[in-house]
Protein backbone atom coordinates (compact mmCIF):
# COMPACT_ATOMS: atom_id res chain seq x y z
CA UNK A 1 0.00 0.00 0.00
CA UNK A 2 2.59 2.36 1.00
CA UNK A 3 4.51 1.64 -2.00
CA UNK A 4 1.63 2.29 -4.14
CA UNK A 5 0.92 5.54 -2.65
CA UNK A 6 4.43 6.55 -2.73
CA UNK A 7 4.71 5.64 -6.25
CA UNK A 8 1.74 7.47 -7.29
CA UNK A 9 2.81 10.44 -5.52
CA UNK A 10 1.36 11.08 -2.23
CA UNK A 11 0.30 14.47 -3.12
CA UNK A 12 -2.29 13.48 -5.51
CA UNK A 13 -3.33 10.66 -3.47
CA UNK A 14 -3.68 12.65 -0.45
CA UNK A 15 -5.59 15.21 -2.25
CA UNK A 16 -8.02 12.80 -3.58
CA UNK A 17 -8.24 11.04 -0.36
CA UNK A 18 -8.98 14.15 1.41
CA UNK A 19 -11.63 15.02 -0.99
CA UNK A 20 -13.24 11.76 -0.63
CA UNK A 21 -12.95 11.88 3.03
CA UNK A 22 -14.48 15.24 2.97
CA UNK A 23 -17.34 14.25 0.93
CA UNK A 24 -17.91 11.08 2.71
CA UNK A 25 -17.83 12.70 6.02
CA UNK A 26 -20.19 15.30 5.01
CA UNK A 27 -22.63 12.94 3.61
CA UNK A 28 -22.37 10.74 6.51
CA UNK A 29 -22.71 13.42 8.98
CA UNK A 30 -25.75 14.65 7.32
CA UNK A 31 -27.26 11.31 6.89
CA UNK A 32 -26.39 9.68 10.08
CA UNK A 33 -25.14 10.68 13.32
CA UNK A 34 -24.71 7.30 14.67
CA UNK A 35 -21.97 6.75 16.93
CA UNK A 36 -19.73 4.12 15.68
CA UNK A 37 -22.39 2.82 13.59
CA UNK A 38 -22.86 2.95 10.02
CA UNK A 39 -20.40 5.40 8.99
CA UNK A 40 -18.05 7.87 10.14
CA UNK A 41 -19.42 10.88 11.74
CA UNK A 42 -17.04 13.57 11.46
CA UNK A 43 -16.68 15.30 14.68
CA UNK A 44 -14.76 18.34 15.24
CA UNK A 45 -12.28 18.41 12.63
CA UNK A 46 -9.57 20.76 12.08
CA UNK A 47 -7.78 20.00 9.00
CA UNK A 48 -4.99 21.93 7.79
CA UNK A 49 -3.78 21.05 4.47
CA UNK A 50 -1.12 23.48 3.99
CA UNK A 51 -0.40 22.30 0.64
CA UNK A 52 -1.55 21.01 -2.31
CA UNK A 53 -4.85 19.88 -2.45
CA UNK A 54 -6.65 20.80 -5.48
CA UNK A 55 -9.67 21.72 -3.58
CA UNK A 56 -10.43 25.29 -3.67
CA UNK A 57 -11.22 25.62 -0.12
CA UNK A 58 -10.04 28.58 1.75
CA UNK A 59 -6.62 28.68 2.99
CA UNK A 60 -5.31 26.34 5.49
CA UNK A 61 -6.64 28.16 8.39
CA UNK A 62 -7.96 25.44 10.43
CA UNK A 63 -11.61 25.40 10.79
CA UNK A 64 -12.94 24.04 13.92
CA UNK A 65 -16.12 22.33 13.49
CA UNK A 66 -18.37 22.31 16.46
CA UNK A 67 -18.75 19.00 17.96
CA UNK A 68 -22.36 18.89 17.24
CA UNK A 69 -21.78 19.17 13.63
CA UNK A 70 -20.72 16.37 11.59
CA UNK A 71 -19.24 18.24 8.89
CA UNK A 72 -15.86 17.66 7.86
CA UNK A 73 -14.13 20.52 6.39
CA UNK A 74 -11.08 20.59 4.52
CA UNK A 75 -9.39 23.77 4.08
CA UNK A 76 -7.31 22.83 1.26
CA UNK A 77 -4.69 24.63 -0.46
CA UNK A 78 -2.99 24.00 -3.58
CA UNK A 79 0.56 23.78 -2.78
CA UNK A 80 3.28 21.51 -3.57
CA UNK A 81 3.52 19.74 -0.35
CA UNK A 82 1.06 17.26 0.60
CA UNK A 83 1.03 17.93 4.17
CA UNK A 84 -2.23 17.92 5.81
CA UNK A 85 -2.45 18.34 9.43
CA UNK A 86 -5.29 16.99 11.29
CA UNK A 87 -6.13 18.06 14.66
CA UNK A 88 -9.21 16.60 15.96
CA UNK A 89 -10.57 18.01 19.08
CA UNK A 90 -10.94 15.86 22.00
CA UNK A 91 -14.08 14.03 22.21
CA UNK A 92 -13.93 12.91 18.73
CA UNK A 93 -15.80 9.76 18.81
CA UNK A 94 -16.12 8.94 15.27
CA UNK A 95 -14.02 7.06 13.03
CA UNK A 96 -12.02 9.35 11.04
CA UNK A 97 -10.27 8.67 7.94
CA UNK A 98 -7.06 10.28 7.34
CA UNK A 99 -5.69 10.18 3.94
CA UNK A 100 -2.20 9.35 3.28
CA UNK A 101 0.29 12.04 3.45
CA UNK A 102 -1.53 13.80 6.21
CA UNK A 103 0.34 15.01 9.14
CA UNK A 104 -1.47 14.58 12.30
CA UNK A 105 -0.61 16.77 15.10
CA UNK A 106 -1.60 15.94 18.54
CA UNK A 107 -2.21 18.30 21.31
CA UNK A 108 1.16 17.62 22.65
CA UNK A 109 2.53 18.93 19.48
CA UNK A 110 3.80 15.76 18.16
CA UNK A 111 3.47 15.37 14.54
CA UNK A 112 2.52 12.19 13.07
CA UNK A 113 2.68 11.71 9.44
CA UNK A 114 0.47 9.39 7.75
CA UNK A 115 2.08 7.99 4.81
CA UNK A 116 -0.67 5.69 4.22
CA UNK A 117 -4.27 6.42 4.47
CA UNK A 118 -5.33 5.98 7.97
CA UNK A 119 -8.61 5.21 9.39
CA UNK A 120 -9.00 6.37 12.86
CA UNK A 121 -11.69 4.72 14.75
CA UNK A 122 -13.08 5.44 18.05
CA UNK A 123 -11.27 4.02 20.85
CA UNK A 124 -11.45 4.49 24.50
CA UNK A 125 -7.87 5.07 24.94
CA UNK A 126 -6.06 7.36 22.78
CA UNK A 127 -3.28 5.51 21.41
CA UNK A 128 -0.63 6.83 19.35
CA UNK A 129 -1.81 7.49 15.97
CA UNK A 130 -0.45 5.08 13.67
CA UNK A 131 0.49 7.74 11.33
CA UNK A 132 3.70 6.96 9.92
CA UNK A 133 6.23 9.57 10.03
CA UNK A 134 9.04 10.49 7.88
CA UNK A 135 9.05 9.75 4.35
CA UNK A 136 7.85 13.18 4.04
CA UNK A 137 9.42 16.21 5.36
CA UNK A 138 8.15 17.11 8.69
CA UNK A 139 4.94 18.76 8.32
CA UNK A 140 4.96 22.32 9.24
CA UNK A 141 3.56 22.76 12.63
CA UNK A 142 0.08 23.47 11.86
CA UNK A 143 -2.30 24.92 14.23
CA UNK A 144 -2.16 22.92 17.32
CA UNK A 145 -5.44 21.80 18.36
CA UNK A 146 -5.65 20.15 21.66
CA UNK A 147 -6.53 16.87 20.37
CA UNK A 148 -3.91 14.49 21.31
CA UNK A 149 -6.43 12.16 22.60
CA UNK A 150 -8.69 13.01 19.85
CA UNK A 151 -6.05 12.41 17.42
CA UNK A 152 -5.45 9.10 18.76
CA UNK A 153 -9.02 8.45 19.02
CA UNK A 154 -9.28 9.45 15.55
CA UNK A 155 -6.81 7.01 14.60
CA UNK A 156 -8.61 4.37 16.29
CA UNK A 157 -12.06 5.22 15.32
CA UNK A 158 -11.00 5.77 11.87
CA UNK A 159 -9.95 2.30 11.55
CA UNK A 160 -13.05 1.17 13.17
CA UNK A 161 -14.97 3.32 10.94
CA UNK A 162 -13.27 1.97 8.04
CA UNK A 163 -14.74 -1.26 8.60
CA UNK A 164 -18.23 -0.17 8.91
CA UNK A 165 -17.74 2.35 6.33
CA UNK A 166 -16.91 -0.07 3.83
CA UNK A 167 -19.41 -0.01 1.22
CA UNK A 168 -20.66 -3.22 2.41
CA UNK A 169 -23.53 -2.35 4.53
CA UNK A 170 -22.44 -4.51 7.31
CA UNK A 171 -21.17 -2.47 10.08
CA UNK A 172 -18.71 -4.45 11.86
CA UNK A 173 -16.96 -3.01 14.71
CA UNK A 174 -13.57 -1.87 14.10
CA UNK A 175 -11.51 -4.77 13.35
CA UNK A 176 -8.43 -4.57 11.58
CA UNK A 177 -8.63 -7.88 10.12
CA UNK A 178 -11.90 -7.17 8.62
CA UNK A 179 -10.68 -4.08 7.13
CA UNK A 180 -8.31 -5.46 4.76
CA UNK A 181 -10.63 -8.12 3.83
CA UNK A 182 -13.51 -5.93 3.33
CA UNK A 183 -11.48 -3.45 1.67
CA UNK A 184 -10.28 -5.96 -0.62
CA UNK A 185 -13.69 -7.01 -1.36
CA UNK A 186 -14.85 -3.59 -1.88
CA UNK A 187 -11.97 -2.59 -3.76
CA UNK A 188 -12.36 -5.31 -6.15
CA UNK A 189 -15.62 -4.22 -7.45
CA UNK A 190 -14.95 -0.61 -7.10
CA UNK A 191 -11.50 -0.29 -8.19
CA UNK A 192 -10.83 0.12 -11.72
CA UNK A 193 -7.24 0.36 -11.79
CA UNK A 194 -4.75 -1.96 -10.57
CA UNK A 195 -4.11 0.29 -7.74
CA UNK A 196 -7.05 -1.00 -6.02
CA UNK A 197 -5.74 -4.39 -6.22
CA UNK A 198 -2.63 -3.27 -4.76
CA UNK A 199 -4.49 -1.57 -2.10
CA UNK A 200 -6.02 -4.74 -1.23
CA UNK A 201 -2.94 -5.93 0.32
CA UNK A 202 -3.60 -6.17 3.91
CA UNK A 203 -2.69 -3.09 5.71
CA UNK A 204 0.52 -3.97 7.17
CA UNK A 205 0.53 -0.99 9.19
CA UNK A 206 -2.61 -1.76 10.88
CA UNK A 207 -1.85 -2.27 14.42
CA UNK A 208 -3.56 -4.54 16.65
CA UNK A 209 -5.66 -3.49 19.41
CA UNK A 210 -7.00 -0.13 19.38
CA UNK A 211 -4.75 1.40 16.98
CA UNK A 212 -6.37 0.87 13.80
CA UNK A 213 -4.62 2.41 11.06
CA UNK A 214 -5.57 0.98 7.90
CA UNK A 215 -3.26 2.50 5.58
CA UNK A 216 -4.43 0.67 2.67
CA UNK A 217 -8.03 0.82 2.96
CA UNK A 218 -8.11 4.40 3.57
CA UNK A 219 -9.05 5.41 0.18
CA UNK A 220 -11.39 2.61 0.10
CA UNK A 221 -12.74 3.59 3.38
CA UNK A 222 -13.34 7.01 2.26
CA UNK A 223 -15.33 5.88 -0.53
CA UNK A 224 -17.11 3.35 1.45
CA UNK A 225 -17.95 5.66 4.19
CA UNK A 226 -19.48 8.23 2.06
CA UNK A 227 -21.58 6.03 0.08
CA UNK A 228 -20.83 3.04 -1.77
CA UNK A 229 -21.31 4.11 -5.22
CA UNK A 230 -20.01 7.59 -5.26
CA UNK A 231 -17.27 6.81 -2.94
CA UNK A 232 -16.19 3.93 -4.80
CA UNK A 233 -16.23 5.99 -7.83
CA UNK A 234 -14.23 8.58 -6.21
CA UNK A 235 -11.97 6.02 -4.90
CA UNK A 236 -11.58 4.71 -8.27
CA UNK A 237 -10.65 8.05 -9.41
CA UNK A 238 -8.22 8.44 -6.70
CA UNK A 239 -6.62 5.24 -7.16
CA UNK A 240 -6.64 5.25 -10.79
CA UNK A 241 -5.42 8.65 -11.38
CA UNK A 242 -2.88 10.84 -9.92
CA UNK A 243 -4.68 13.81 -11.09
CA UNK A 244 -3.31 12.95 -14.36
CA UNK A 245 -5.26 10.11 -15.55
CA UNK A 246 -8.57 11.62 -14.89
CA UNK A 247 -8.07 15.25 -14.44
CA UNK A 248 -11.50 15.97 -15.56
CA UNK A 249 -13.15 13.73 -13.19
CA UNK A 250 -11.03 15.09 -10.47
CA UNK A 251 -12.09 18.52 -11.38
CA UNK A 252 -15.62 17.50 -11.34
CA UNK A 253 -15.17 15.98 -8.05
CA UNK A 254 -13.52 18.98 -6.72
CA UNK A 255 -16.27 21.07 -7.87
CA UNK A 256 -18.80 18.91 -6.29
CA UNK A 257 -16.80 18.68 -3.22
CA UNK A 258 -16.27 22.33 -3.15
CA UNK A 259 -19.87 23.02 -3.49
CA UNK A 260 -20.73 20.60 -0.88
CA UNK A 261 -18.10 21.93 1.33
CA UNK A 262 -19.23 25.40 0.85
CA UNK A 263 -22.69 24.48 1.73
CA UNK A 264 -21.49 22.67 4.71
CA UNK A 265 -19.38 25.54 5.75
CA UNK A 266 -22.23 27.89 5.48
CA UNK A 267 -24.40 25.65 7.44
CA UNK A 268 -21.85 25.29 10.05
CA UNK A 269 -21.35 28.93 10.29
CA UNK A 270 -24.97 29.51 10.74
CA UNK A 271 -25.20 26.83 13.26
CA UNK A 272 -22.19 28.01 15.05
CA UNK A 273 -23.60 31.38 15.28
CA UNK A 274 -26.78 30.21 16.63
CA UNK A 275 -25.66 27.34 18.68
CA UNK A 276 -24.12 27.41 21.99
CA UNK A 277 -20.85 28.36 20.55
CA UNK A 278 -20.97 31.60 22.37
CA UNK A 279 -17.66 33.03 21.71
CA UNK A 280 -17.74 32.31 18.06
CA UNK A 281 -21.21 33.46 17.61
CA UNK A 282 -20.70 36.48 19.65
CA UNK A 283 -17.70 37.43 17.76
CA UNK A 284 -19.33 36.90 14.50
CA UNK A 285 -22.34 38.72 15.66
CA UNK A 286 -20.40 41.62 16.78
CA UNK A 287 -18.63 41.96 13.56
CA UNK A 288 -21.57 41.36 11.44
CA UNK A 289 -23.99 43.49 13.14
CA UNK A 290 -21.99 46.51 12.67
CA UNK A 291 -21.55 46.29 9.05
CA UNK A 292 -21.25 44.21 5.97
CA UNK A 293 -20.68 40.77 7.19
CA UNK A 294 -21.46 37.27 6.40
CA UNK A 295 -24.97 37.13 7.57
CA UNK A 296 -27.48 39.20 5.88
CA UNK A 297 -29.57 38.85 8.96
CA UNK A 298 -27.15 40.76 10.93
CA UNK A 299 -26.95 43.45 8.42
CA UNK A 300 -30.61 43.92 8.51
CA UNK A 301 -30.56 44.23 12.17
CA UNK A 302 -27.96 46.84 11.88
CA UNK A 303 -30.20 49.11 10.03
CA UNK A 304 -32.93 48.91 12.49
CA UNK A 305 -31.42 50.48 15.52
CA UNK A 306 -29.75 53.26 13.68
CA UNK A 307 -30.94 56.62 14.68
CA UNK A 308 -29.14 59.81 15.23
CA UNK A 309 -25.56 59.97 14.28
CA UNK A 310 -24.55 60.76 17.73
CA UNK A 311 -26.07 57.67 19.08
CA UNK A 312 -25.12 55.37 16.32
CA UNK A 313 -21.98 54.11 17.84
CA UNK A 314 -23.53 53.54 21.13
CA UNK A 315 -26.62 52.03 19.79
CA UNK A 316 -24.83 49.76 17.45
CA UNK A 317 -22.52 48.54 20.08
CA UNK A 318 -25.28 48.05 22.46
CA UNK A 319 -27.53 46.52 19.90
CA UNK A 320 -24.92 44.02 19.06
CA UNK A 321 -24.40 43.03 22.58
CA UNK A 322 -28.04 42.98 23.17
CA UNK A 323 -28.72 40.83 20.21
CA UNK A 324 -26.02 38.47 21.14
CA UNK A 325 -26.94 38.05 24.65
CA UNK A 326 -30.52 37.83 23.78
CA UNK A 327 -31.96 38.58 27.06
CA UNK A 328 -34.28 35.78 27.58
CA UNK A 329 -36.14 37.39 30.33
CA UNK A 330 -39.74 37.80 29.77
CA UNK A 331 -40.78 40.82 27.90
CA UNK A 332 -42.21 43.76 29.71
CA UNK A 333 -45.74 42.78 29.79
CA UNK A 334 -48.52 44.16 27.91
CA UNK A 335 -48.49 47.78 27.14
CA UNK A 336 -50.16 49.59 29.87
CA UNK A 337 -52.56 52.23 28.98
CA UNK A 338 -51.17 55.58 29.57
CA UNK A 339 -54.18 56.73 31.39
CA UNK A 340 -56.09 55.64 34.33
CA UNK A 341 -53.34 53.77 35.97
CA UNK A 342 -53.13 56.27 38.69
CA UNK A 343 -56.53 55.21 39.77
CA UNK A 344 -55.20 51.88 40.75
CA UNK A 345 -53.09 53.13 43.57
CA UNK A 346 -53.62 56.66 44.44
CA UNK A 347 -51.54 56.26 47.53
CA UNK A 348 -48.27 57.88 46.88
CA UNK A 349 -46.42 55.62 49.11
CA UNK A 350 -47.28 52.63 47.08
CA UNK A 351 -47.67 53.50 43.50
CA UNK A 352 -47.89 57.11 42.83
CA UNK A 353 -47.09 56.90 39.21
CA UNK A 354 -50.08 58.61 37.70
CA UNK A 355 -48.89 57.81 34.31
CA UNK A 356 -48.93 60.62 31.92
CA UNK A 357 -50.25 63.13 34.31
CA UNK A 358 -47.26 63.68 36.36
CA UNK A 359 -44.47 62.85 34.11
CA UNK A 360 -43.62 65.01 31.23
CA UNK A 361 -42.59 63.24 28.14
CA UNK A 362 -39.35 64.25 26.69
CA UNK A 363 -39.89 65.73 23.31
CA UNK A 364 -36.30 66.37 22.71
CA UNK A 365 -35.50 62.92 21.46
CA UNK A 366 -38.06 63.24 18.77
CA UNK A 367 -36.05 65.92 17.19
CA UNK A 368 -33.32 63.47 16.49
CA UNK A 369 -35.27 61.16 14.33
CA UNK A 370 -33.58 62.20 11.19
CA UNK A 371 -32.49 60.22 8.22
CA UNK A 372 -28.86 60.68 8.89
CA UNK A 373 -27.74 57.19 9.47
CA UNK A 374 -24.45 55.41 9.72
CA UNK A 375 -24.20 51.70 9.26
CA UNK A 376 -20.81 50.45 10.25
CA UNK A 377 -18.68 48.42 12.54
CA UNK A 378 -17.02 49.87 15.55
CA UNK A 379 -13.51 49.62 16.76
CA UNK A 380 -13.98 51.52 19.95
CA UNK A 381 -16.66 53.59 21.52
CA UNK A 382 -15.63 55.69 24.45
CA UNK A 383 -17.51 57.91 26.78
CA UNK A 384 -16.44 60.29 29.52
CA UNK A 385 -19.31 61.88 31.29
CA UNK A 386 -21.16 63.30 28.36
CA UNK A 387 -18.36 63.28 25.86
CA UNK A 388 -18.41 60.49 23.36
CA UNK A 389 -15.68 59.37 21.03
CA UNK A 390 -16.25 56.94 18.20
CA UNK A 391 -13.75 54.91 16.30
CA UNK A 392 -15.67 53.31 13.50
CA UNK A 393 -14.75 51.25 10.51
CA UNK A 394 -16.15 49.83 7.34
CA UNK A 395 -19.31 51.74 7.05
CA UNK A 396 -21.66 53.79 5.03
CA UNK A 397 -22.93 57.12 6.16
CA UNK A 398 -26.00 58.72 4.80
CA UNK A 399 -25.80 62.36 5.57
CA UNK A 400 -27.89 65.11 4.11
CA UNK A 401 -29.18 62.72 1.57
CA UNK A 402 -25.76 61.74 0.34
CA UNK A 403 -23.99 58.51 0.95
CA UNK A 404 -20.45 58.30 2.08
CA UNK A 405 -18.51 55.11 2.35
CA UNK A 406 -15.62 54.84 4.69
CA UNK A 407 -13.20 52.27 5.92
CA UNK A 408 -12.38 54.26 8.97
CA UNK A 409 -14.16 57.02 10.75
CA UNK A 410 -13.47 58.94 13.90
CA UNK A 411 -16.04 61.05 15.60
CA UNK A 412 -16.72 63.04 18.68
CA UNK A 413 -19.95 64.11 20.15
CA UNK A 414 -21.41 65.65 23.19
CA UNK A 415 -24.60 64.49 24.58
Amino acid sequence: MRELFLEEGLEDRVLDDLRHLWESKMMQSKAMEDFRKNNINSSNFVLQLPDNYGLTEPEPASLVIPASQNIHRFPVKNTSETVATFSLPAGLAYPVQIPAGVTLQTASGQLYKVNVPVVVTQAPVGQQPVSHPTQKAPAPPSATVPSSTVHRQQVEPVSAACIPQLPLPETTSSKEINLPQQQQQQQVPAADSSHLQEVHSPPSEVTTGENNLSAQPEPVNFSSTASPSPCSQELDFQLSTEEKALPQTALLKTKDIDDILKEVIEEEREKAQRDLDYSYSELSDIVQLDGAADNSDMEEEDVVPLEENDFLGMINAEAIKVLQDGDGSSDGNSISSSDSEGADKPVEEEDPLNSGDDVIEQDIPDLFDTDNVIVCQYDKIHRSKNRWKFHLKDGVMCYAGRDYVFSKAVGEAEW
Binding site: V304, E307, M314, S329, G332, S336, L353, E361, Q362
Partner: protein
Amino acid sequence: MDSSNDDALDIIITNVVATFRTRCHLNLRTIALEGTNVIYKPEVGKVLMKLRKPKITASIWSSGKIICTGATSEDDAKVGARRLARCLQKLGFKVRFSAFKVVNVLAVCSMPFAIHLVDFTKNNRPIASYEPELHPAATYRIKHLKATIQVFSTGSLTVTGPNVQNVATAVEQVYPLLFECQKPLREKRRGELRSQE
Protein backbone atom coordinates in the same frame (compact mmCIF):
# COMPACT_ATOMS: atom_id res chain seq x y z
CA MET B 1 -17.55 83.12 61.28
CA ASP B 2 -19.60 82.40 64.34
CA SER B 3 -19.61 79.12 66.03
CA SER B 4 -23.10 78.05 65.23
CA ASN B 5 -23.69 80.01 62.14
CA ASP B 6 -24.52 77.63 59.43
CA ASP B 7 -26.74 80.06 57.65
CA ALA B 8 -23.82 81.67 56.11
CA LEU B 9 -22.37 78.44 55.10
CA ASP B 10 -23.33 77.25 51.68
CA ILE B 11 -24.09 73.63 51.66
CA ILE B 12 -24.14 72.61 48.06
CA ILE B 13 -25.78 69.33 47.23
CA THR B 14 -23.83 67.69 44.48
CA ASN B 15 -25.46 64.33 44.21
CA VAL B 16 -28.62 62.62 45.25
CA VAL B 17 -28.98 58.89 44.85
CA ALA B 18 -32.40 57.33 44.91
CA THR B 19 -33.85 53.96 44.17
CA PHE B 20 -37.26 52.77 43.22
CA ARG B 21 -38.92 49.70 41.90
CA THR B 22 -41.09 49.12 38.91
CA ARG B 23 -42.68 46.06 40.34
CA CYS B 24 -42.34 44.28 37.10
CA HIS B 25 -39.67 42.42 35.27
CA LEU B 26 -37.90 44.43 32.64
CA ASN B 27 -36.49 43.12 29.45
CA LEU B 28 -33.16 44.85 29.23
CA ARG B 29 -32.78 43.92 25.63
CA THR B 30 -35.94 45.66 24.66
CA ILE B 31 -34.97 48.71 26.58
CA ALA B 32 -31.56 48.78 25.04
CA LEU B 33 -32.89 48.40 21.54
CA GLU B 34 -35.82 50.69 21.65
CA GLY B 35 -35.03 53.13 24.38
CA THR B 36 -33.39 56.45 23.74
CA ASN B 37 -30.18 57.49 25.35
CA VAL B 38 -29.39 54.09 26.73
CA ILE B 39 -26.18 52.26 27.32
CA TYR B 40 -26.42 48.52 27.58
CA LYS B 41 -23.97 46.70 29.74
CA PRO B 42 -24.65 43.03 29.27
CA GLU B 43 -21.58 41.98 31.16
CA VAL B 44 -23.01 43.52 34.26
CA GLY B 45 -26.61 42.96 33.34
CA LYS B 46 -27.96 46.45 33.43
CA VAL B 47 -28.96 49.30 31.24
CA LEU B 48 -27.96 52.88 31.87
CA MET B 49 -30.44 55.45 30.82
CA LYS B 50 -29.49 59.08 30.91
CA LEU B 51 -31.99 61.83 31.20
CA ARG B 52 -31.34 65.37 30.21
CA LYS B 53 -33.92 67.39 31.95
CA PRO B 54 -33.14 66.50 35.46
CA LYS B 55 -29.59 65.47 34.75
CA ILE B 56 -29.93 61.92 35.84
CA THR B 57 -28.33 58.64 35.11
CA ALA B 58 -30.33 55.61 35.99
CA SER B 59 -29.15 52.04 36.31
CA ILE B 60 -31.92 49.73 35.32
CA TRP B 61 -31.85 46.13 36.28
CA SER B 62 -33.96 43.41 34.87
CA SER B 63 -35.53 42.73 38.21
CA GLY B 64 -37.20 46.10 38.00
CA LYS B 65 -34.98 47.84 40.48
CA ILE B 66 -33.71 51.19 39.34
CA ILE B 67 -31.02 53.31 40.89
CA CYS B 68 -31.16 56.95 40.02
CA THR B 69 -28.04 59.07 40.42
CA GLY B 70 -26.87 62.53 39.52
CA ALA B 71 -29.78 64.59 40.75
CA THR B 72 -29.07 67.83 42.51
CA SER B 73 -31.98 67.76 44.91
CA GLU B 74 -34.38 65.33 46.37
CA ASP B 75 -37.26 66.69 44.40
CA ASP B 76 -35.24 66.55 41.28
CA ALA B 77 -34.48 62.96 42.00
CA LYS B 78 -38.11 62.16 42.34
CA VAL B 79 -39.10 63.95 39.21
CA GLY B 80 -36.35 62.27 37.32
CA ALA B 81 -37.32 58.90 38.62
CA ARG B 82 -40.89 59.37 37.56
CA ARG B 83 -39.83 60.52 34.15
CA LEU B 84 -37.75 57.44 33.86
CA ALA B 85 -40.61 55.23 34.86
CA ARG B 86 -42.70 56.97 32.31
CA CYS B 87 -40.12 56.21 29.66
CA LEU B 88 -40.18 52.59 30.56
CA GLN B 89 -43.90 52.59 30.52
CA LYS B 90 -43.86 53.92 27.03
CA LEU B 91 -41.59 51.12 25.97
CA GLY B 92 -44.34 48.80 26.92
CA PHE B 93 -43.60 47.64 30.39
CA LYS B 94 -46.21 47.58 33.07
CA VAL B 95 -44.39 49.91 35.28
CA ARG B 96 -45.56 50.86 38.69
CA PHE B 97 -43.70 53.53 40.49
CA SER B 98 -43.17 52.19 43.93
CA ALA B 99 -40.77 52.27 46.81
CA PHE B 100 -39.07 55.47 45.86
CA LYS B 101 -36.41 56.23 48.39
CA VAL B 102 -33.54 58.62 48.51
CA VAL B 103 -30.66 56.56 49.55
CA ASN B 104 -27.78 58.95 49.67
CA VAL B 105 -27.14 62.65 49.51
CA LEU B 106 -23.74 64.08 48.89
CA ALA B 107 -23.01 67.69 49.67
CA VAL B 108 -19.97 69.89 49.90
CA CYS B 109 -19.39 72.75 52.17
CA SER B 110 -16.56 75.13 52.66
CA MET B 111 -15.41 76.61 55.89
CA PRO B 112 -14.07 80.10 55.86
CA PHE B 113 -11.05 78.89 57.73
CA ALA B 114 -8.45 76.21 57.51
CA ILE B 115 -8.48 73.35 59.92
CA HIS B 116 -5.83 71.67 61.90
CA LEU B 117 -6.71 68.08 61.32
CA VAL B 118 -4.48 66.55 63.92
CA ASP B 119 -5.94 68.66 66.69
CA PHE B 120 -9.39 68.04 65.42
CA THR B 121 -8.85 64.31 65.47
CA LYS B 122 -7.30 64.40 68.90
CA ASN B 123 -10.22 66.27 70.30
CA ASN B 124 -12.75 63.94 68.81
CA ARG B 125 -10.90 60.71 69.27
CA PRO B 126 -13.39 57.97 68.78
CA ILE B 127 -15.64 59.69 66.34
CA ALA B 128 -13.05 61.18 64.06
CA SER B 129 -10.33 59.25 62.34
CA TYR B 130 -7.44 60.58 60.39
CA GLU B 131 -4.97 58.55 58.40
CA PRO B 132 -2.93 60.93 56.31
CA GLU B 133 -1.15 58.13 54.51
CA LEU B 134 -4.41 56.75 53.29
CA HIS B 135 -6.52 59.79 52.73
CA PRO B 136 -5.79 63.45 53.19
CA ALA B 137 -9.06 64.11 55.01
CA ALA B 138 -10.22 63.34 58.48
CA THR B 139 -13.40 61.30 58.64
CA TYR B 140 -16.01 62.23 61.17
CA ARG B 141 -18.95 59.90 61.50
CA ILE B 142 -22.12 60.85 63.28
CA LYS B 143 -23.79 57.65 64.16
CA HIS B 144 -27.23 58.78 65.09
CA LEU B 145 -27.46 60.79 61.93
CA LYS B 146 -25.78 58.14 59.87
CA ALA B 147 -23.79 60.88 58.28
CA THR B 148 -20.15 60.94 57.34
CA ILE B 149 -18.16 64.13 57.07
CA GLN B 150 -14.80 64.34 55.51
CA VAL B 151 -12.82 67.26 56.69
CA PHE B 152 -9.96 68.61 54.67
CA SER B 153 -7.26 70.82 55.98
CA THR B 154 -8.27 73.55 53.60
CA GLY B 155 -11.57 73.85 55.36
CA SER B 156 -13.60 72.07 52.74
CA LEU B 157 -16.07 69.48 53.80
CA THR B 158 -17.85 66.73 52.03
CA VAL B 159 -20.88 65.38 53.77
CA THR B 160 -22.81 62.26 52.90
CA GLY B 161 -26.02 61.26 54.54
CA PRO B 162 -29.30 59.55 53.93
CA ASN B 163 -31.14 62.75 53.23
CA VAL B 164 -30.63 66.44 52.95
CA GLN B 165 -31.86 67.20 56.39
CA ASN B 166 -29.37 64.91 57.97
CA VAL B 167 -26.65 66.46 56.00
CA ALA B 168 -27.52 69.91 57.14
CA THR B 169 -27.71 68.79 60.71
CA ALA B 170 -24.39 67.13 60.45
CA VAL B 171 -22.76 70.27 59.22
CA GLU B 172 -24.25 72.21 62.04
CA GLN B 173 -22.99 69.71 64.50
CA VAL B 174 -19.51 69.61 63.25
CA TYR B 175 -19.07 73.30 62.75
CA PRO B 176 -18.23 74.23 66.33
CA LEU B 177 -15.79 71.40 66.57
CA LEU B 178 -14.05 72.57 63.54
CA PHE B 179 -14.09 76.09 64.65
CA GLU B 180 -12.09 75.18 67.67
CA CYS B 181 -9.45 73.50 65.67
CA GLN B 182 -9.06 76.00 63.03
CA LYS B 183 -5.60 76.66 61.94
CA PRO B 184 -4.03 79.71 63.42
CA LEU B 185 -4.72 82.77 61.50
CA ARG B 186 -1.11 83.68 61.30
CA GLU B 187 -0.71 81.89 58.05
CA LYS B 188 -3.46 83.84 56.49
CA ARG B 189 -2.06 87.00 57.83
CA ARG B 190 1.29 86.09 56.51
CA GLY B 191 -0.24 85.75 53.16
CA GLU B 192 -1.97 89.04 53.55
CA LEU B 193 1.12 90.76 54.71
CA ARG B 194 3.04 89.44 51.83
CA SER B 195 0.44 90.47 49.39
CA GLN B 196 0.35 93.85 50.90
CA GLU B 197 4.04 94.17 50.73
